[in-house]
């Protein structure tokens, strides 16, 4: 009964490949997010979707494309992976509204070789 789940947990791949990370939440939330945590543990938002609509799109290379098939899922597709994409990617969800608590998934550790 995991609230926010991500697959895979670990992803090791070669430069230039395309990969996807999936996120699902069973909390009934309207809003979902993708964050990137770099090697220095700095966390930065990438995208946010509310009811399948993109509402936050930070300065992220267009090789990253989020897709929300329904409000319980927010997937992240990455084209032409680069060494600098190596990081931990966290999905989160929250109710719609200001000041709402965000619930984070366990993270996907991506290593690009």
């Amino acid at each position: 009964d995991t609230a926010v789940s991500q697959t895979p947990k670990y992803l090791v791949t070669q430069m230039g490949n395309d990969k996807s990370i999936k996120c699902e939440q069973n909390l009934g939330h309207d809003t979902m997010y993708w964050y990137k945590q770099d090697s220095k543990k700095f966390l930065k938002i990438m995208f946010s979707y509310n009811n399948k609509e993109l509402i936050i799109n930070e300065t992220v290379p267009n090789r990253f494309s989020p897709k929300s098939p329904d409000k319980a899922h927010l997937n992240l597709h990455i084209n032409s992976l680069e060494l600098g994409d190596s990081a931990v990617y966290f999905c989160a969800s929250s109710s719609q509204g200001r000041g709402e608590t965000q619930y984070f998934g366990p993270g996907t550790r991506l290593l690009v070789l």
């Binding site: 966390l43 930065k44 200001r98 619930y103 984070f104 993270g107």
Partner: protein, 116 residues
């Protein structure tokens, strides 16, 4: 734009000692304030948050933080830490208005290590 500065990257402390993790923020608009905790190899969990009202907020496991508007600070304190409090702590803010609601801006994190 908002920014968050956590003044200490690492804080070592002995078990049962008090601890303070410092957080300052900068914002031209009003913000909500949060503390999240990340245990090793896990995602972040909310520890406590300030939205409005009393400037002192508490968590269920004994942490508290006080919003100080004049000093733009939101320091986290605990009077007596346990080994299980060893984790990384992140201070964050989000705007109270505007279109990008929900966007959290995080500090750099503070690693709290509790020694026996």
């Amino acid at each position: 734009a908002q920014s968050v500065t956590q003044l200490d990257s690492q804080v070592p402390v002995f078990e049962e000692a008090p601890v303070e993790l410092r957080c300052n923020y900068s914002s031209s608009v009003s913000v909500y304030l949060f503390w999240y905790v990340q245990y090793p190899n896990q995602g972040l969990q909310l520890l406590l948050k300030y939205l409005s009202g009393s400037t002192l907020v508490e968590s269920i496991n004994g942490f508290e933080a006080e919003f100080n508007k004049s000093q733009t600070s939101f320091h986290l304190r605990k009077p007596s830490v346990h080994i299980s409090d060893t984790a990384e702590y992140f201070c964050a803010v989000s705007r109270t208005g505007g279109t990008s609601y929900g966007k959290l801006t995080f500090g750099q994190g503070t690693i709290l290590t509790v020694h026996p």
